[in-house]
Structures are given as structure tokens and as C-alpha cells.
Symmetry: C3
Subunit: 287 residues, 3 copies
């Protein structure tokens, strides 16, 4: 098991827990995503790929499909995006999707990432990230694609687009999402330095909207959903669409080129060699 | 008398007062707008349509004409936009302009709203909103179109684009103005939830620039005008134009389509039925 | 010696000191710019045109050339932009480049300003402004083009784009840089009023990132450079490029027209007469 950002995660991530959300009654289930449709009409979508919810093609596809299905599910009025893995929201992209990739597999992987993001960012239902664990890179992207972010207070958890520290570059639509959340200046420095923020610092720069005790995260996320659900629906949907439209349009205009660039980047010999060394180092470390 | 947002306004709004600004010497007068050209070369434009300054076609046209006239009036160096109605800045758009509208009347109404906004937002003279009362929806738009906002401290007054709560959608140029004032992230959540902010909260997110005691509002608005009037005029004018240009350009590019969309929206049977029920409920309430 | 903004500078500026940075070992030298290539692989570029580092064609050209050379210098990993003149970062554009200018000289001057900005703003190496003195107008532009700004605490120093107060208009790319740094709303008012901020106020609105004692400025700027230098380089470079790309693209699209506008503006009889009066007043004052 290898994943981008592994060395940045707290040790707890590597332990496989029973799942903080183990008591949930699962209404539907996929391999790596669990969906609970609750009586309050809120669906809780939980990433469920121990040990660190590394985002591989199957997990991303399941997420994209889940968000698309819930979009059309009249019984669901709001979505909370959470994790079943204790101490981890998501560690980001799975490096094994990049190592020894073919042009075809690299493109398939990247498209699934794009689809996941778009199905969440443009979701017409209220979406809230319940961030009860570390949330670097792709984990931060998922959180920023929601309407609201509640994070657990912990000195072990951090959140941020830390791609540069991992020698990679966040694609333009990660950056656009980040800028939309924390503004141009904060995003610029955080992206360049690959900054990971403590929950308290993330709150200060507006990267998360609330920081609460770990056992309060789901309750607060639920409260935010209920607040959105009180708003007349058609107006809320059209307003959300309008206010995010320029970012979705930029994404649509650039998405094909973005796939080309990713495939060209990842298939370079030098990048493959670097990934190989990285994986060797991880293996050596874990012995 | 009916208006969007009526149920959100403090009770004081429904009382017809003598006018806080009743002592002003009026230099020119229209039906729903009073203009005082003061000796300090500041023109005070006051909305004057009791009980709540609901923005109907005549009021909006008069405002647009007033701002355009003042633009060309060499004796006027700055404009304060205020209200003659105690406790109310403006309650927003007049719903009677939408109920049983014809295609022609709907278009005329919406164009007058566009003209009012453009004549204020692109006004080359310094403009300051003296917000001495509730300022939801269209009231907030007027305030945000000015260069500076001074609001009276009061636990009865709120300000914000609360359109979603009224089942309507703020047009794109309302949203652009809001984003330019408080930033993408704050605007996004406030627009989706239709948030109304207390003066103190509005100050925190930058929706207003100053909160002072009610009897200090005009004095502080005047001070801000005088500060702008000290700046070499040609440079100030060109700078204001340049820094707002991208928003004016987006508006110009979309304004015709915006009228089409409004007319198509408001003339739908379902919308007319909803407006009818809303007006019935208001009547029942006021008995 | 005349310069825009002279009357706004603290008295200390007019004294010619020994140079706070006089102990630097100069690795290369030009007429108005000194470059120290330090052992830590950080190049310190210091403006060196007493009494106020007024930005004339030679100084701007030397700066542009310096940044371009350092871009290609493999021994240099980061750049600090500082001043050799005590109490002054830079007083901004040299008014003598505008007075009695020809079309050719005006264009040459303005292009050198554009080149200087672009070579710094788009520099792929980490750049930090060590602001140990007054930094109005063009001085503020240089600071904002860097990745990070450290300013000395002092009640004598201010920073800001104060062009309107000098009867001129900041070009669109000054404004874009300002908006990217402090956001649309803060930039709008600061540009219109030509605001100059104390170090403390500049910190509050995000115009500078750190305010420290004067003798700590270089140390803190160095620390920021070292932080950037730890980031994998290719990823850092591509990220910086990507996140600033929209501003560079707007600049490229408008730069020719910007030169035309400047030349047309400055060669007007009325502007020349104004500049003449301004220079006379400065002369009278200095007697």
C-alpha cells in the first residue's frame, strides 16, 4: 500500500481501526465507499479504503457514481462526505495508479478524479465535509469541493494542498477550488510551499469553517445540512450553480488538456524512476 | 403594499415616521426620491417611498435618473445614498412589479433596476451608503454599489442578499457585486443561505466598512466623502473606472440575456401562483 | 533630483547615509543596482540610487537585466530585493523620465518598467522583498511582485499604491498585482484614495506578510527564502507559474496598449505643464 503524502500522516493512520462510523446502518454499499441514507434525509458518504483512503481508480469511480446517484435520489436532500477510517479523511491520490501506468490507465485514473470532483463541486444538493482526520492533497480537494467544512480539533490532523512537497503540481482546477476557498494570496503561498495547516490555522485562513471536538463533527455537519435544507430548493440550486459557474466553466474548457498533460507527465522515464525510488523507500521504511 | 422580504423586516418599518432627514433643505424633489444638494458639494439622495422603500419601477427610474443627472452636475462632488424612511434603508424589489406582470412591464421593471445599479456602480463621483435601517436584498445591492458603507448599530437592522430565502435567485451582477465586496467564499455561503447579517457581523466580513451610532451615520458618511473629494479628481475617476471595469464589462455582456431570463421566469404560471399566495398571506397577516 | 511621491516621504530619505547594507560583499555591480551572491545561494539585489531610489530608465533596465540574469544563474536559488538607501525602499517612478519626454523616451521608460515587473513577478526563483524603508507607488509594486514581503516596523515608513494622490493612475497590471495581494475590496478603496499604510496596517490587510524590527528584516527574509528552497524545485516552479498565470496573461494581452496609453498621456500639454509646476515647486521647497 503506497500513497502520496504518506510520510506526512500521523502514525494513527497506519493502524486499521473498527471505524468511527461503524455503528451506521448502511443503506447501500460499494467496495470502497459506504452510503448511509439517514431518516433526516441526509446521506452520509464515507470513504472506506483502509488504511488511508488512498484515492485509486475504483474509489474515485465509486465516489463519482455515488454523488451522481444521490443527485437523482429524491429521498436524499443533503450529503455529508466523511471517512470510515479513524484518524484519516483521505491521504490523497494513490501513487500505485501512477507507477508503471500505461497511457490508458493513467488517463482512466485522471478522468475518474475529474469526474469525482465535478460530481461533488457541481452537486446541486448541499454538501458538507465532516473532516475527522488528516486531509492532505486529494483529501483537501474533496473537502474544498463541498459547501462547508467541519474539522475535528486535533494536533495530529492537518489539511492542505501539499502537492509541491511531494514533487508534484496540483492541476489548475485544484488551484481554482483552493483560491475560491481561501483567496488568491493565501492560496498562492500555501500552494507554492505545499503548506499543511493545523485545524486552528485552517480556520484562521478560512480553509475550514468550523473546528470542533472529534465527537461533535458529525453533529455540526448535520446542523449545517439542516440549515441549507430550510432554504427554498429551486432558488438554492440555481444560486449555487451560478456562484460556482465560472470555476466549472474553466474546468470544462481545460479538462481534456489536463488529462493529456497528466498522462504525458506521469509516463516520463524520469518521473517513473522517481516514483520507483519513492516506493522503494516506503517499503524499506515499513519493514 | 407588498414587498419582497417584508416578513424579515423589523416591526418599526411598518410605521410611517416623520423622516429622520425631515430637516433637510431639499434642492430638488421627485415623487419617491429626494435630493439635497448641500453647501459642502455633497448631494444626499434619499429613498422616500414609505413604508419600506420597496423598489418599484418609478422609484428605480427616479434613482437612475438622479444618479445620471448628478454625474453631470458640476456643483456636486460626491453622493450619499440614504433613506427618508425611519428604520428602513430599502426592503428590496417591490413584488407588485412581478405579480400579474406583462412581458413588457416585467422587462421595463428589470431594465430600470439594471439602470439604477449601473448608474450608481459606475458613477465617477464618490458614493457612500448611509445605511440607517434594514437593508435586505435590493437594499443591500444599492449599498454594495457605493464606494463605502456606513451602517447604524442596531439589533433590529440587518443587511444581506437574502434572495434564496424568498425563493428567488439574485441575478449574476448582484452576485458579482457581492463577491467584489466580501470575496468568493463569504459570498458563496451568504448567497446560498440567503444570510442577513447584523451590523457587527456585516463589519466582520467586510460587507460594511463602519458601524456607528444611528445619529453618527450621516456625519461619518460625510467624512468619507470629504476624504475622496481631496483626491485629484481625474486620477480618482480613472482609477475607480479601471478597478471596477471587469465587473461592468461582465454586466454589459450579460444584461440583455438577464432581462430575457427575468421576464421568462416571472411570467411562468407557477411563479405567478406562488406570488399570488404570498400576497394573500401578507394581506391576511396585516388584517 | 525629483521623484513622484517625494512630499510623502519621511525627512530621513533626503539624507544620504552610509547604507545599512554597506557591509555586503558585492559579487557584481551595476550603476544603480548592487547584487550580492551569498554563500547560502541567495542573491541580494539592492536598489542603489540615492537619495530615494527613484525608478528611472537606467535603474529599471538594470533591475530587469539583473532578475533575468539571476533567473539563469544556477548558483542562485533565491532572490531578496532590498535597498542600499537608508530609510527608503523606493520612492517610485522618477518624474524626470516624464517631464519633457519624447514619444521615444516615454515608451522606452515605460517598457523598462514593464520588463522589470514581469521579470520579477514571473521569476521562477523564490523572491522576497526586504522592505526597510518607505515604499510608495513603484516601491510598493516591486514589493508586491515578490513572493513574500517582510517590512521594518517604523512610524516613519509607509507602503501603498498612492498614485491617485499624485494625480496619476496606476496601470492595470499594478492594480491586478494589488488585487492579487490584498483582494478586490481592500484594493479598490486603497487605489481610489491612494492610501499609504503603516507597517502595522499593511500587515492587517495582508499587504505585507511580516513586520519586524529593522535589524531583523534581512534575517526574516532569508528564513522565508530558505523555506521556499526546501520545496522540490520543478514542482515549486510550475506551481508558481500556474497560480500567477492569469495575471501574466492579462498583462501580456494589454502591455502594448498600456505603452501607447502612457505615452499619449504623458505627452499631453496639460500633463507636461503640471509636471513643470510640480518640479518648480520641488525646487522652491528645496532651496
Amino acid at each position: 500500500m503506497a500513497f502520496l503524502g504518506s510520510r506526512l500522516l500521523p502514525r494513527v493512520c497506519r493502524a486499521n481501526g473498527n471505524g468511527l462510523l461503524g455503528s451506521l446502518r448502511l443503506a447501500s454499499s460499494k467496495e470502497f465507499v459506504s452510503v448511509e441514507k439517514r431518516e433526516d434525509k441526509i446521506a452520509v458518504v464515507s470513504l472506506n479504503r483502509a488504511p488511508v483512503n488512498a484515492l485509486n481508480y475504483p474509489l474515485l469511480s465509486e465516489l463519482a457514481n455515488t454523488f451522481t446517484e444521490l443527485e437523482d435520489d429524491r429521498a436524499v436532500k443533503s450529503i455529508i462526505v466523511a471517512s470510515n477510517v479513524p484518524g484519516i479523511y483521505s491521504a490523497g491520490l494513490d501513487i500505485l495508479e501512477m507507477y508503471q501506468a500505461t497511457d490508458e490507465s493513467a488517463r482512466r485514473f485522471w478522468k475518474s478524479l475529474q469526474d469525482m470532483w465535478l460530481s461533488l463541486y457541481a452537486c446541486t444538493k448541499p454538501t458538507v465535509a465532516a473532516i475527522n482526520g488528516a486531509s492532505p492533497a486529494g483529501g483537501c480537494l474533496i473537502a474544498c469541493a463541498c459547501d462547508y467544512r467541519v474539522m475535528a480539533e486535533s494536533n495530529k490532523y492537518t489539511i492542505g494542498l501539499n502537492e509541491t512537497k511531494l514533487s508534484i503540481v496540483a492541476p489548475f482546477w485544484f488551484m481554482d477550488t483552493y483560491v475560491a476557498t481561501i483567496g488568491q494570496r493565501s492560496a498562492e503561498r500555501a500552494l507554492i510551499l505545499g503548506s499543511l495547516f493545523s485545524p486552528t490555522d485552517a480556520l484562521k485562513i478560512g480553509l475550514v469553517d468550523e473546528v470542533v471536538a472529534s465527537d461533535q463533527v458529525m453533529e455540526r455537519a448535520t446542523a449545517e445540512c439542516l440549515q441549507h435544507m430550510k432554504i427554498p430548493n429551486a432558488a438554492r440550486v440555481m444560486t449555487k450553480r451560478q456562484v460556482r459557474e465560472h470555476i466549472v466553466e474553466r474546468f470544462e474548457a481545460g479538462r481534456e488538456n489536463d488529462v493529456d498533460m497528466f498522462a504525458a507527465f506521469v509516463l516520463q522515464d524520469s518521473v517513473q524512476a522517481g516514483l520507483g525510488r519513492y516506493l522503494e523507500a516506503l517499503k524499506a521504511k515499513s519493514k
